[in-house]
Amino acid sequence: MPRSALAALAGAAVVAAALPWLLDDFLVSLALSCLMYVALATSWAMFSGATRYVSLGTSAFFGLGAYVSAWTVAATPWPIVILGGALLAAAFAGLAGLAILHLRGTYFAVLTFGLSELTRHVVTYGEKQYAGTVGRVLRAVPSNRTVYFTVLAIAVSAVLVAVAVRRSRFGLALIGIGADEQRAQTLGVPTRWVKVAGFALSAAFAGAAGAAMAVRWTYIDPTAVFNPLIGLQTVLIAIVGGPLSLTGPLLAALVFSLLAEFLRLQFPYAYLIALGLLLIVAVLYLPYGLAGLWRHRTAGRAAAAR
């Protein structure tokens, strides 16, 4: 990522930090969901974009983070709650990854989807058995402003970690796994551990985001926080934005949350249809997303100028 892009990123973060003083509550909550998808899509692309292991498991990690928050927020310092959500999600992704990361393509996608459903049912069962209730009302939650800055911090760190990973040998290993996993292994990449670590790292951000967002909703139940739509939207945003780029998912997250909010209010059904159509178009015609389209155009121009 060039220095100018990093500067633009820092600028965007500063603007985002000022928003709670500039906008009304509705627009701030819109910005909040924007930031949430920045965190989710960026961290998703960091692993799934690079390795081409398309995960639909984001909902599972997000939901686990949300429940960590629900269980602990009343009696635990706020940063520990967020960290706890991240750690539980990462640990869960690590264990699940050990079991399912030898599967590729559709099998992996379907299994991660199943993972979300399984987690949802296990949490539902556990809550019924031991808490005697399925939903939970969250009391003694931090202020809206605290939540906003927490999610902003998670989004910024997701982007920074994605940049750092992209520049590291670890990131190169992830790209190699995406290009040809066996070949990468014969060149010395310990593919299994790289995959598990990448999957867990990416899940940590989803867990943290879940932990932070849970308190915004004040009432949570498994259907809401393990909503598969969260995972699907994450994948969609990252793929439409460009799974291999850093700025693509980021910009797509901004556009999408705004668009989604608008469409959801105006045309609730058209919104889901539009989501589906966009995903199909992106997968069929834009393997590198809108970022690829942009790069293609600039590359074409450079070639023409030569």
Binding site: A173, R183, T186, G188
Partner: protein
Amino acid sequence: MTAPALAARGIVVRFGGLIAVDRVDLEIEDRALIGIIGPNGAGKTTFFNALSGLVAPASGRLCVGGVDLTKKPAHVFARAGIARTFQTPRVFADMSVEESVRFGLEFAGRRRRAERATLGEPAAILEFLGLADSAALPAREVTPARQRLLEIGMALATRPRVLLLDEVAAGLTEAEVRGMARLVRRCRDELELSVVWIEHAVGVLLDAVERVLVLHQGRALAEGAPAVVARNPEVVEAYLGHAAGEAQP
């Protein structure tokens, strides 16, 4: 006496009920130049898959420099100095030629800096292979013949001790095949590697190598000097004679 660079003893590879490799031994000393021949389906590539750790043998032992690596994953073999190419070039399509070579240097090659200092830069490897002018091209855009060279470059970047070449001359013109045979010898002579070379172009291979192993239906049919093996009646019957018979009108 030092342990051989790579020693395979009694290697058996099974796919379900099929025995693809059946109790094959091969001892590869440092700076050896060995050819493997055999008809299609003889188990040559499967044997390579076992030697490079991609397939765990059902039985048998694999030792690299005297260290037992049997059933270890492929990256452990790469880090121990076993490098290989694939029959159909498996280059990183989206990376440039130079980046593809750098990849090996960043992983297995990085850990093997102490063992081997030569060819420590992508530029040096590309120069050695005559690929320097393609360095900036995406790997997908170079010709198939150059992709084969790039495959060798990616393998060399791991700073190997043993280089396993799987049909690197397949699909090349006759002149290119001879060029490849020269390159194989240079890998041994100039880089001081052990090279094991699988090839269907038997004539060129027998001229280039110093020892040859003949595989037939998963078994080692013969092993020895090329001139001796080429006259072995069993080999002629099973393989060479078959080809000679086809050539006659």
